[in-house]
Symmetry: C2
Subunit: 336 residues, 2 copies
């Protein structure tokens, strides 16, 4: 920076101002300085800058899995919402493990992010403590936690499960199952399952056809195996909701191998509105949670929080939309 200042014939302080926005400086001085910086290939050192100003320009974010179109969409929403504010995303994935989340968060907080976005409302006690005492905006997403840390942008996974139970019931299905992951790890998937089960009971149906023998993420392979186990144990099952569309696609694949017609012999539904569910044969009924919009809203919340003084901070709880997308895979009820 001193070199740039010398070349432009000004002080380092003026260079510092010229290279930021929202600072008082004359147009021609700035132009001169920017030219000098370009000549020298100078890029401002965000490390030193953050160190001096206390604003690092980082937003830390954790997601359960990087290889998941839903969370990827939320990340995209955040990135898009933050792009023009020169904020750099610090991304980590927890592998659906809150102990790993704690480790990640601890490492990320060392880099002093200006805000933090986490997925879900389940955290270790230590992680909750780290976050709540950190002193920067925190946003929990993809859930409506009973005890929010601070801001929330999410939806009720329980409601999503109930929505699908209602739909399958309305279509005439009565022997309804669920394929999903480990309750301890994918807490949101577990919430969907609980809502689904609870609604089945309210509708007067059994809720014991639950196959959850797999670790999350429940992918195609695990779901195909789970489907085999389901049919083995309850051969008369006439509909199944899967914890995600990927699982539903795996189940669909297994159903073909059993010689089943979907939905004539069995209905299959998913969750998440992945591309694959729209292009499967038959197309798979699913639930769309507008993952990118969750990210955009989280980014908006952060911008507002960073823009206002600490006294103005009010906790924001924003519930996002959950839409059922009805397709052929649950379209034809059997005669009962």
């Amino acid at each position: 920076m001193a070199d740039v200042a010398k070349r432009a014939g000004v002080s380092t302080m003026t260079v510092s101002r010229a290279l930021r926005s929202g600072t008082a400086i004359s147009q021609e001085t700035r132009k001169k300085i920017v030219a000098a910086a370009d000549d020298l290939g100078y890029v401002i050192d965000a490390t030193a800058s953050g160190f001096a100003s206390g604003k690092t320009g980082f937003v830390a974010m954790t997601i359960p899995s990087i290889d998941n179109a839903n969370f990827a969409d939320t990340v995209r929403g955040v990135t898009d919402g933050l792009r023009e504010y020169n904020l750099q995303l610090l991304l980590g994935y927890t592998n659906y493990d809150i102990a790993e989340e704690e480790r990640l968060i601890e490492g990320m907080l060392g880099h002093r992010p200006d805000a933090v976005i986490v997925t879900g409302g389940a955290h270790t006690d230590r992680c909750r403590h780290l976050l709540s005492s950190y002193g920067a905006p925190i946003v929990e997403t993809w859930d409506l936690p009973a005890k929010p840390l601070q801001h929330v942008v999410g939806f009720s996974n329980n409601e999503a499960g109930r929505l699908m139970a209602d739909h399958l019931y309305d279509q005439g299905y009565r022997r309804i199952a669920f394929i999903g992951g480990d309750v301890k790890r994918d807490t949101r998937g577990a919430d969907r399952r609980r809502g689904f089960e609870a609604r089945l009971v309210e509708l007067g149906l059994d809720n014991d056809r639950i196959i959850s023998a797999t670790q999350p993420p429940t992918m195609m392979h695990e779901a195909a195996q789970a489907f085999d186990a389901l049919i083995d144990r309850w051969p008369d099952t006439d509909a199944v909701m899967c914890v995600s569309d990927l699982a539903a696609f795996g189940a669909l694949s297994a159903a073909y191998k059993h010689g089943f017609d979907v939905p004539k012999n069995i209905a299959i539904a998913g969750f998440g509105a992945y591309d694959v569910s729209a292009f499967a044969s038959p197309e798979i009924t699913t639930i769309d949670v507008k993952a990118a919009a969750i990210g955009r809203q989280a980014a908006m919340l952060i911008r507002e929080s960073l823009g206002s003084s600490i006294e103005d901070q009010t906790r924001q709880i924003r519930q996002t939309a959950v839409d059922i997308v009805i397709r052929a895979s649950t379209a034809k009820p059997r005669e009962n």
Copy 2:
């Protein structure tokens, strides 16, 4: 840190040493200091640490798209390979746009990463300049660039295309097409296409059945449309390679809508060994490039580079495996 030092009855310098590894300090002093730090909830400030030491602990990485299982696998490989070294990944996605890559890289370099990983060998001139003059290990992945910036971990996309052309020819297909993205943006997909075309010509076939009307990433929807266009223009096409498995799945879906049997009426092949290709009906022939291994090798290269003095740095070019995975979607040749 001063508080911790006071509480433990030592100097800040000793605290600094106690909280790092590989520093000379007595066991009991360290124990005392760690206890004091825990009591105070003290976490070292990586910003100041990086500022003082010149080592930030960041590894910057750019990928074309976050929502792509192949690149996600590479990211996972990098993360896993770096985890125990306390390196934090700074991830950005370019959306297959080298101008966006330049912007991203510039922003990331401001945070002074200890190493940089990029996807592919196509960069803007300015980006090449920024990277080559940056003074830290650089790894290009997923390609074998003609003019590498420094280290490379990748494979020949051209060869991958040729491999599939050979397979389809061997199976007896003769009227072979390609569905892929914009040559300007997905340069690796374009290389696959070029190798594919070139091999078709060597085998004495036409190479004009190329549909590339879409912007990358060529996803299911675009590929389905492209398939329609292909059949409209060249109804007698008997095989098609798609730029990725996602595209292949979209094409498969379109083929069903045309009433085609795959592979009896037309063979469909993909690239990337995505889960979806293994669970589609029929299962889709693809090419496995071991995406996670690319990431692990890149991480290994970086660890070695960071561990050795600058004089010992020799450029490493590591070619990775490319395996064809033959499945039912290309299994049954037609009579010619």
